[in-house]
């Protein structure tokens, strides 16, 4: 039994490390705002993260440095869905703090009067009814209930 769990752990770590080694990092990506004129610091991480006095509006936010959205969202709904979708929370809420279009991208640090709003295909908006659902509990019970979803054990093995 222990051997089995060890096998799973090794598999997971192998995946994670190989991902880091071959993966692209944020530098140079669309999320690298270090060269944008509105980011006078020239830093990459600062638009989202800070080392001290981080924002805790969203529980367990990872050293958050960006204004959080206060918008009211319309969640995804469907006659065939078994998941219960509510207001976005956790990391999804942090993503939407730029991608819902209500908070300026440059509202980080103490800035609240930014002017850089997301447009185009990156703009999700506050109407999440045309987007894949987020912020719902995805557990074995849901997988069983739905019948067309992997449960967590299967999912781990699939990695």
């Amino acid at each position: 039994m222990k051997k089995v769990f060890l096998l799973i752990l090794i598999t997971l770590f192998t995946f994670l490390f190989s991902s880091l080694l071959i993966g692209q990092n944020i530098s140079g990506s669309a999320h690298d705002f270090s060269s944008d004129s509105w980011n006078t610091t020239g830093q990459i991480c600062i638009v989202c993260h800070t080392t001290h006095n981080s924002d805790v509006t969203v529980a367990n936010a990872p050293l958050w440095n960006h204004q959080s959205t206060a918008a009211t969202f319309t969640p995804y709904s469907s006659a065939s869905i078994h998941a219960s979708t509510g207001d976005p929370d956790a990391s999804s809420k942090l993503c939407l703090s730029c991608h819902d279009g209500t908070v300026a991208v440059d509202n980080f640090g103490s800035q609240t009067t930014g002017t850089q709003f997301i447009t185009g295909s990156s703009l999700i908006g506050t109407d999440l009814n045309d987007d894949h659902p987020v912020s719902f509990t995805y557990d074995q019970a849901l997988a069983t209930n739905d019948g067309g979803l992997f449960d967590r054990l299967e999912y781990c093995l699939l990695l």
Binding site: S80, S121, D130, F150
Partner: protein, 558 residues
Amino acid sequence: MRIKILIVFILANIVSAQSIVNSVHNLSVSGSGTVIATSEDEICIFCHTPHNSSPRQPLWNRSDPALNYTLYISSTAQAVPGQPSGSSILCLSCHDGTIALGNVLSLPSPISFTGGITTMPLGDANLSQDLSDDHPISFIYNSTLAGQDGELVDPLTLTGPVLLENEQLQCTSCHDAHSDVNGNFLVLTNQYSNLCVTCHDKTYWLSTSHRNSTATWNGTLPDPWFHTTFNTVAENGCENCHDPHSAADHERTMNYYDEENNCVNCHNGNVATQDVQTDILKPYAHNVYGYDHVHDPDENNLVNLRHVECQDCHNPHAARNSTATAPNANGYLEEVKGIDTNGNTVDPIQYEFELCYRCHADSPDKPGSPTIRQIGQDNVRLEFDVLNPSFHPIEGAGTNSNVPSLISPLNESSIIYCTDCHASDGAGSSAGPHGSFNPHILKYNYETADYTPESYLAYELCYQCHDRNTIINENGNSFQQDVHFKHIVEEDAPCNSCHDPHGINSGQVTTSDHTHLINFDTNIVFSVSGNLQFIDDGIFHGTCYLRCHFRGHNPRSY
């Protein structure tokens, strides 16, 4: 150890997943079908997008097709299909063949496919914009409809896997685009018509041979089951005759356009034991090949426009292999409509003759009588009336209590079928009046021409029931000698010259002249001094006024 087994099981489950990945709905470059993208490796993208979907559910990534479809229509359907709606539109955004498979909302240019494929290639998966040859969709299926139709289950009992969408039947009621475990992405296997009978509750279906027969195909073309993988009649069930998509005959989605081909491609000796097709192709037949789409299952019991199809006499949803005693209809004639002895409609028939009366009684377009007689009558319902002075015992026992020629077990109280005389000829042929080398679809030879030398074969039909030796015994009583032997053997007169084999309607006679089926063929028997008459003088005695073979009886008694 147990965990190991569990993991092996789970892995195997994933690898052989009955998911979209291994189905032809995987249009990505990793797909196993013939219609796949050249390089796109996302599977879901052809239908779904995580953002900015339209329609929003189910995160749809394709444009809607134009709603100008030709809809299904049928004289026997109570459902009213509208232009496709709900999920059916989504399916048709590929399957009507009008929109390129690679046109997705989330990409600025279409995904390219191997072989230069753009829209759905022609074939089974391309339904076209003509939906009149497909099972109807996008109609309200509620308890009211089930009540009106009478042969549909109440949809309130549908708890899956067949489900409706807002009370409407849609493509998704039968198909699950994500799972091909049952073939054709069906939500339930249609082996033994399991899927069809979820909704269709055809009267008598449970007992019909078309549901229960284990007969197999002998491999001689044509393949009667060209659109299934099943191997017996029972397994094919509804699909023995019906094709739910792109059906050759649109109305009622039949496998073949010509009605009879839906039947004869099994009833030709290749599946069913009896070769009905060979009988129907004989020179005298209920020629189902002679009519196309004149018959309608919704037509009146009384046939106004002359035609014949297998379905006029047989109900393929009910027919079964079972015998009966005259005059009761047997299982092959289960649940068919007819006309009763009083000319009223009956549905279903109880007696076999009620089926024949649909066309051969009061029908305005019925075939005429082949023999010109002193009392003419084409309406066989009137000829067989039990109140007639004489008739062959079809509706009830005959009037003559002295018929010594009858061969046991027949006797004076016996009742026979129309099909005892009118039936396919030859040993081993199919029962019933399908076809014969004998005129009038007679089961045996029956000569009607004057000056026919008597032989067993000449009147083979009559001699099946009436013993030849008794009829023409030259050493018998005076009746046998003077009447039958003299006329049939010595004068070569056919039985038909004096006897009317059906009967003489009581409404056309005022005397007892027409007992013993006496109704002279006026092309053979003529009047004498203006008088053509038979007078019944009691048992084995009579008097005739007639002229025949250049001799006059004016009168002559026996």
